[in-house]
């Protein structure tokens, strides 16, 4: 595949599925520098994966799989910005957070998601985006029954915590 063709597909994917990528970034990376770092890692993997995409699954599923796997591995790395191993000042900010568009209910959801461990965070994102247990089991590589147990616990915790949330019912 020609690089120009690969870049065109990358731009189309980025344009069409940016919300999907941003949700994962917001759930896994806290600081703006980390969000930039993770976003760039995901974009690199997304770009590199293009010649391998054969269309056997939906683009959104393919991207979810790549982005979640990258986020999971990224979160096991040494925390670069905490330990100062990366030159933060030299990082190009490719993402600019839109502060004005913040919805407090969405912010509450992210706060709750971030309280889960990294695996449950992935499941919560997939669940909120309407993926079936079968699709989740396929993406995570575990049984549907295991997915069911985890999802039950996640839903219960979210609903319980929402009762304490002032904007909730």
């Amino acid at each position: 595949m020609k690089e120009s063709e690969q870049r065109k597909i990358f731009d189309e994917w980025l344009d069409g599925y940016r919300a999907l990528l941003f949700k994962i970034i917001k759930a896994y990376a806290y600081s703006e520098d980390d969000q930039n770092d993770l976003f760039q890692d995901i974009c690199i993997q997304m770009f590199r994966s293009i010649p391998n995409f054969k269309g056997s699954s939906a683009v959104s599923t393919w991207l979810y799989r790549i982005a979640l796997n990258t986020a999971i591995k990224w979160s096991t790395k040494e925390k670069k910005h905490v330990t100062g191993h990366q030159e933060v000042e030299n990082m190009t900010n490719v993402l600019i957070s839109n502060e004005e568009a913040k919805d407090e209910r969405v912010a509450w959801l992210y706060k709750e998601i971030k309280q889960f461990n990294e695996i449950d965070r992935s499941l919560t994102l997939l669940l909120l985006d309407g993926y079936s247990y079968k699709e989740m089991a396929d993406m995570m590589g575990i049984s549907e029954s295991n997915i069911g147990v985890k999802i039950h616990r996640i839903k219960k915790q979210l609903v319980t915590n929402s009762k304490q949330y002032e904007y909730g019912v």
């Binding site: 731009d11 980025l14 599925y17 940016r18 919300a19 999907l20 990528l21 941003f22 949700k23 917001k26 760039q40 974009c43 690199i44 993997q45 770009f47 590199r48 994966s49 391998n52 995409f53 393919w62 799989r65 979640l68 796997n69 591995k73 979160s75 096991t76 790395k77 040494e78 190009t92 900010n93 490719v94 993402l95 600019i96 957070s97 839109n98 568009a101 919805d103 209910r105 969405v106 959801l109 990294e118 695996i119 449950d120 992935s122 909120l128 309407g130 993406m139 995570m140 590589g141 575990i142 295991n146 147990v149 985890k150 839903k155 979210l158 609903v159 929402s162 009762k163 949330y165 019912v169």
Partner: protein, 189 residues
Amino acid sequence: MEFEEMQKIWDEQKGETMYAINETALHKSITRKKNAASKRMNMVETWISLINGAVAIFLFIDALNDSHYWDFLGSAMMLATVIYIQISRHKRLKAENTFDRSMFGELDHAIANTNSIIHFSRMMILGYLLPFSFFYILKMIVVEATLDQWLFVTGMYILAFGMILWERKKMHIPRKKNLEGMKRKLMEE
């Protein structure tokens, strides 16, 4: 709040309103990071292979000329490291282009990768630094090296040992533990 309500709130998010992307900077960053990562690894593998290959040839020729049989052993060891590095490289390049793994598969692969790096650093110590420092010390005793030479050579070996052990302890072993912990979280109900 019911879960279905949370889903509705979640669905209201639009990519355009969450972040703005500096696309020029993104493309530059992708090109730079993508090339930098593979170039760095390629360079390390190529240089170690070239150096070890050259040492293997040198030792082999030396062994033929002087009938030093231990040089044959040293040459074979160097050749073995070149073969090991090239096999690992082939596996790494193949694995780099697999994108359809499940999260379990990805974690398994990352653990195997980290394990191979840990084994590689062990091999560098046991199969490379230790035998070479042993041969070198013998040689320095035979040629009656000066104190300066002793200090320099032992200092360099201690530095090399220290760096390999430090990298292993501070980077690879904690990462392996993190990945294994993540896999446990994935498996547990």
